[in-house]
Amino acid sequence: MSGVDPVVLNLTVFVLAIFVGYHVVWNVTPALHTPLMAVTNAVSGIIIVGAMLAAGPQQIDVGTVMGLVAVMLAAVNVFGGFLVTKRMLDMFKKKSK
């Protein structure tokens, strides 16, 4: 296996993740499709990982500055997404009383 190109490994992970996503998302109740979009918005904030790596190198240059801007943008998504999802889901809780 040592000779396998990282592209192939990435592709393997990619295809399997799509399958998992496909099956999990079909089980989401339609009533929660808006919270689903809000939470996937937060999850797509995972780009923050790429942004942090871009901002990471010791030597500060235009690339690290772009990385920091990207970190900030993605953080808006992560915090905003999870919190607004929580706000919505709490509404669904209140009513079942």
């Binding site: 592209v7 990619f14 996503g21 999990v24 780009i47 790429g50 690290t64 920091l68 998504n77 669904f92």
Partner: protein, 463 residues
């Protein structure tokens, strides 16, 4: 941290993200699911932090962005969720473009090129894909945001040869992508990015307001693919897995929305449907159709004496801010021994599941809120259907009239109930600009007026 520990921490985070989506299979488990997502994200961020040098600056950037996000999340109105989601998609798109540019600026730092060498050839393709998907997501979402928030007309903006222009631009963009592949440099990269940004605008402007639920789901999907694309570039499984989950989720939602409107995905993308509310109710056949109208008191009397009532809410209900009033009305009816339920069409709001959230906000118990497929068989046994702020989703032409533009669209079969009450401001047509035969049935009674005012009058009459 060693590369292996990082990869294992990412694996834990990825599993937590899957559990997040799994939690949404029912309202009871959903809050725990959201908590899993927060933990997963925290693990991913903290793990990545150990790989960086400028962690102070990074934490400051997170604090700034996080504060902005938290404030928006607290203040946003539930009716404005579609705009918020569109705006957030654009941020992911822009972040993806910035990361791609940064990666190209210093590929050695990412381990995707050796010092003094050019970017690996496979990474060039991935960088190209990640960048253009990110760029299209960025500008496309801005246009969607402007349309949804009413800062730009929801009317489709079209010009002759539009599709050819887009196709041409797409080909030129791929051309520069190939040039970048052969000899990576900033010039083809930036031109290709600029074209992708322009394409994002051009792809969304021709799409009309009625198709926005599809567009917003589609951009949701794109934002995920953009993150996955960057993951390929950086050989980062965390980004690939999380991006793919989001990408497939958005794709499924787009499919569900298209099906709910009986629209082919391709024709939505090509655009031009739904220019907003039509003015006249003239069906064009020249025959003056008659309808019956009544007062809120009449409506209250009919519902008060019924044994079962189904409420069909549409976006007009939310526009009139009548959700709380309708919940109060349901309580009064329930006290009189009337079974009240709400029937939700998948496109009742401006985004998938929007109406459910709007009703939840008004504290309507979710057990009373039933999806179209589950409730359609029960209209025939229902005494009164109250259609409020909805139109096209109860138009029987979608079932009966092969010449209708909405023929084949699944509808709520309100016309099968014993009595139909329709609350509307006037006889004006809905999004699709079509007349609705439901309004002219003998068993239908129109109640004209603002939805909130009418419901409040019904409440007065009931109590």
């Amino acid at each position: 941290m060693s590369a292996n520990s990082v990869a294992l921490a990412y694996l834990v985070a990825a599993v937590l993200f899957i559990l997040t989506l799994k939690g949404l299979s029912s309202p009871a488990t959903s809050r725990r699911g959201n908590m899993f997502g927060i933990i997963g994200m925290a693990i991913a961020v903290l793990t990545t932090l150990t790989l960086t040098h400028n962690w102070i600056y990074i934490l400051i950037a997170i604090a700034v962005g996080g504060t902005i996000g938290a404030i928006i999340a607290q203040r946003i109105q539930m009716t404005a969720m579609p705009e918020l989601v569109a705006a957030m998609h654009s941020l992911v798109g822009l972040a993806a473009v910035l990361v791609a540019m940064s990666a190209f600026n210093n590929p050695v730092a990412y381990g995707i090129a050796l010092p003094g060498e050019l970017l690996h050839s496979s990474n060039r393709i991935e960088l190209f894909i990640g960048t253009f998907v990110g760029a299209i997501t960025f500008t496309g979402s801005i246009i969607a945001f402007l349309k949804l928030s009413g800062k730009m007309s929801g009317k489709p903006l079209r010009f002759a040869g539009q599709h050819w222009v887009n196709l041409g631009l797409g080909i030129v963009m791929v051309g520069f992508g190939v040039a970048f592949f052969i000899a990576p440099s900033w010039t083809p990269f930036l031109i290709m990015t600029a074209i992708a940004l322009l394409l994002g605008v051009l792809l969304i402007v021709p799409i009309g307001g009625a198709d926005m639920p599809v567009v917003i789901s589609m951009l949701n999907s794109y934002s995920g693919w953009a993150a996955a694309g960057i993951g390929f570039t950086l050989n980062n499984n965390m980004l690939i897995i999380a991006g793919s989950l989001v990408g497939s989720s958005g794709a499924i939602l787009s499919y569900i929305m298209c099906k709910a409107m009986n629209r082919a995905f391709l024709s939505v993308i090509l655009g031009g449907f739904g220019g907003g509310e039509g003015a006249a109710a003239d069906s064009g056949d020249g025959i003056q159709k008659t309808y019956r109208s009544g007062s809120a008191d009449d409506a209250a009397f009919l519902m008060g004496n019924a044994s079962s009532v189904i409420i069909v809410p549409g976006y007009g209900l939310a526009v009139a801010r009548a959700q709380h009033a309708i919940n109060e009305m349901s309580h009064l009816l329930a006290e009189k021994g009337v079974t009240v339920r709400y029937a939700i069409h998948p496109v009742a709001g401006r985004m998938p599941g929007h109406m459910n959230v709007l009703l939840a906000e008004a504290e309507v118990p979710y057990e009373q809120v039933v999806e179209m497929d589950e409730i359609n068989n029960e209209f025939a046994d229902t005494d009164v259907v109250l259609v409020i702020g909805a139109n096209d989703v109860v138009n029987p032409a979608a079932k009966n009239d092969k010449s209708s533009p909405i023929y084949g669209m699944p509808i709520l079969e309100a016309h099968k109930a014993r009595t139909v009450l329709v609350v509307k401001r006037s006889m004006a047509t809905g999004y699709a600009g079509l007349d609705n035969d439901l309004f002219y049935l003998d068993k239908t009674m129109m109640v004209f007026g603002d939805a909130k005012k009418v419901v409040e009058d019904i409440i007065k009459s009931l109590s």
